[in-house]
């Protein structure tokens, strides 16, 4: 074979490779264009229209976005969503970490506990909200019954505007298993010799946790933080099933309000504008978090400054 022949052979190999590459990702590519990119663009376009889904959309420019400013329910839903995120995300980060530490030791039967803690995240959202509805029932629900044994008269939970959002936060504790699993994975990738070295230097388990585990876990914490922030901003199921945003709009999540505008009030244009605002908020917060990374996230193999 001379050089040209080799080149030709190489080129056809490249072409073949490219072809099989595109064939292999075709299902994803087609699916992405049809079911993600397409609707995404359509929703962006729809946000500049007055569209009730039944008649043709009418172009109204930025009016939907201008109307946001005077919409009291939009303001309320932003307030509720921010409050929920601010309460839930830290609880999820700490709670998941505590759970992970609890089930970390390789004891006999520990797999059972890991499974139990992880299980709720696999359940259907609606099913577990319904179970919580029974537990939170003020008359004879499990939680108030238990509080009653200690002589405490439990609150009316989902029926009380002061407690309704907290009830939803309480419900969301069942999602801790997800971050627990991620933390466990992160902990397993911490080299054992670091602990040996720390032990030789006389560090106790607390010191080991703060000097070794926590810094080396910071990428996982960061990952959990971003993921849980994004997911919390999009909370919907618990409020949709348990409270429908009430009482007195105390659990009116932004996504629930979007659903209401779209499918109950037939204002698809306004609903898509709301959705893009939600996207902008999440995007900005995610970018801020990414920027903050270099101050507190430590990657192994990287030199800290």
């Amino acid at each position: 074979m001379n050089d040209t022949e080799i080149n030709l052979a190489l080129r056809s190999l490249h072409q073949k490779e490219a072809l099989s590459f595109y064939t292999a990702i075709a299902p994803w590519l087609v699916g992405f264009c049809l079911f993600t990119a397409g609707p995404l663009l359509i929703s962006l376009g729809a946000s500049f229209t007055d569209w009730d889904l039944l008649t043709n959309p009418r172009w109204i420019g930025l009016e939907n976005y201008r109307n946001l400013a005077t919409d009291p329910y939009f303001a309320q839903s932003i307030k509720v969503t921010l409050a929920y995120t601010a309460a839930y995300v830290p609880l999820d980060l700490v709670g998941g970490l505590l759970l992970a530490l609890l089930v970390r030791p390789r004891l006999k039967g520990i797999g059972i506990f890991r499974t139990i803690f992880y299980l709720p995240t696999v359940f259907s959202g609606v099913a577990f909200v319904v179970v919580w509805l029974w537990m939170l029932n003020p008359n004879g629900g499990l939680i108030n019954l238990a509080l009653g044994w200690f002589g405490i008269e439990g609150p009316r939970w989902l029926l009380d505007p002061k407690y309704a959002l907290w009830s939803l936060i309480l419900m969301s504790f069942w999602g801790w298993g997800r971050s627990m699993a991620l933390y466990l994975g992160g902990m397993q990738s911490i080299p054992g010799e670091l602990y040996e070295a720390a032990a030789m230097d006389g560090a106790g388990s607390f010191r080991q946790f703060f000097a070794v585990t926590l810094p080396l876990l910071s990428p996982t914490i960061f990952f959990n933080l971003v993921l849980s922030m994004i997911a919390t901003f999009q909370s919907f199921t618990s409020a949709f099933v348990a409270t429908n945003g009430g009482p007195l709009d105390s659990t009116l999540f932004l996504v629930l309000y979007i659903y209401r505008q779209a499918f109950e009030f037939f204002n698809m244009g306004y609903a898509t504008a709301l959705a893009w605002v939600l996207f902008a908020i999440i995007l900005i917060l995610t970018l801020l978090l990414l920027r903050s990374q270099r101050f507190w996230v430590f990657y192994l193999g990287e030199r800290s400054e």
């Binding site: 889904l53 029926l159 505008q261 779209a262």
Partner: protein, 431 residues
């Protein structure tokens, strides 16, 4: 190995493309050339589908060249699904919707007017019981025909009345009679805990609350459908809200709602034999009749200034996008007509008078009460504006939640605020 891989790829790709097609246009059963297939959408589910299926079976037996495909989507997703289908121009030929969705669907051209069909086919629209055509009518044109319906009534448990030697409530009773009866039937143990409630009420159910407003002689919206001021904040509405709230908090004859979000408050006191009366529609009646805790009686809701009731209604219409409108009407006049009513009567109140009479339901001590209430219907607020649900409904809900939760709530102030909020939302739409 390589061929297997290729085969797999092709299969995956094919199935992807095919599934993409089938999601927009559901597959139809094999049909011969002369066979017409029509699709019927319904929001019913579970047992509620049986009468649909039975009627379709009867219809297909008589019309061998027509296949009716039932497309059920139960629960709150029904309208979301229907709207998406309409937007994609893939809506079922026959669509079932509920009363307060009629104005928005019709004003947005989702349904065809039936008047020419009714005239051409000599369909006798006077077969229906009073008030049952109106919810399907917009601007004098008929768009939907009735499926089923329910007014409100008061259920009572004869066992509890007998035990307390309280006479049963009778038609024509008043709000004061209701309060007095409920007080006699609210029982407490020596330490002051309520062991039995006078009446179970439907919490912050806004549409159900329109009965109280109508009975007090009030209205939540002006007749031209534009103003809430002077209606929602009127003394009549204030009296209705105050009386309702007092049943909960001042006289404490009604149990607090168990679940503010559940339809009707999610209470189970009446079903458990722990409440003597209950104000609601006919929907749970089947369960009450077989419930060993209950010996059931039903009476008209009490009157205040006005002997009033309101109607909850579901109906069928033909989609504008239907390509088989003639066949669809044939089925529509069957399912909503006398043959359909013969089947419905075993499941819900029949809409056709002759069926209600011949089956004895009109004279039945329980069913007769519901049917008789059709003579006292007042128009619901949604009939005055297609924007009721997004303007005033959230405002009214706020008022009801507030007065139920807070015994010291300022009813007049809350209603004034609600009228203002609803008006602001309405004015914004008009811009």
């Amino acid at each position: 190995m390589k061929t297997l891989y290729r085969f797999l790829l092709v299969t995956i790709l094919l199935s992807l493309v095919l599934s993409a097609c089938t999601t927009t246009a559901p597959s139809t059963p094999a049909a011969s050339e002369s066979t017409v297939v029509i699709r019927a959408g319904t929001g019913d589910g579970g047992d509620g589908l049986t009468p649909h299926q039975q009627i379709i079976q009867n219809f297909e037996d008589q019309n061998p060249n027509v296949i009716v495909q039932l497309e059920p989507v139960s629960g709150r997703d029904y309208y979301a699904r229907l709207l998406t289908q309409l937007a994609a121009k893939a809506a079922p030929d026959i669509m079932q919707i509920g009363d307060d969705a009629v104005p928005s669907f019709v004003t947005k051209n989702a349904f065809i007017p039936l008047d020419t069909y009714l005239k051409d086919s000599n369909f006798d629209a006077s077969i229906y019981l009073p008030g049952l055509l109106e919810p399907g009518k917009i601007d004098g044109k008929q768009y939907l025909l009735p499926k089923d319906y329910s007014p409100l009534a008061v259920y009572y448990n004869k066992k509890l009345f007998d035990a307390a030697s309280v006479p049963y409530p009778v038609d024509g009773w008043t709000w004061e009679d209701l309060l007095a009866t409920a007080q006699k039937l609210t029982l407490k143990d020596p330490s002051g805990n309520v062991t039995q409630w006078g009446i179970q009420l439907p919490a912050a159910w806004t549409t159900g609350f329109e009965y109280w407003v109508a009975a007090a002689g009030g209205s939540l919206i002006s007749k031209d459908g534009k103003n809430f001021a002077g209606a929602m904040d009127s003394p009549e509405v204030a009296r209705a809200v105050q009386f309702y709230a007092d049943l909960y908090n001042k006289y404490q004859v009604a149990p607090q709602p168990a679940d503010m979000n559940a339809f009707g408050g999610g209470n189970s006191e009446f079903a458990n034999g722990k409440a003597a009366m209950m104000l609601f529609g006919r929907w749970p009646q089947g369960g009450f009749k077989t419930n060993p805790n209950i010996s059931l009686g039903v009476v008209a809701p009490p009157k205040d200034k006005v002997r009033a009731n309101i109607l909850f209604w579901g109906g069928f219409g033909i989609a504008t996008s239907s390509k088989e409108a003639d066949t669809a009407f044939k089925y529509l006049s069957y399912v909503s007509g006398e043959p359909g009513a013969q089947v419905w009567k075993d499941w819900a109140l029949p809409a056709v008078k002759s069926v209600a009479d011949s089956s004895g339901l009109s004279k039945d001590p329980i069913e007769g009460v519901w049917i008789g209430e059709l003579n006292y219907l007042m128009p619901r607020a949604y009939t005055f504006t297609p924007y009721w649900n997004e303007t005033a409904d959230p405002a009214l809900r706020r008022v009801l939640e507030s007065v139920i939760l807070d015994p010291n709530a300022d009813v007049k102030g809350l209603l004034a605020q609600a009228a203002k909020d609803a008006q602001a939302a309405m004015d914004k739409l008009g811009e």
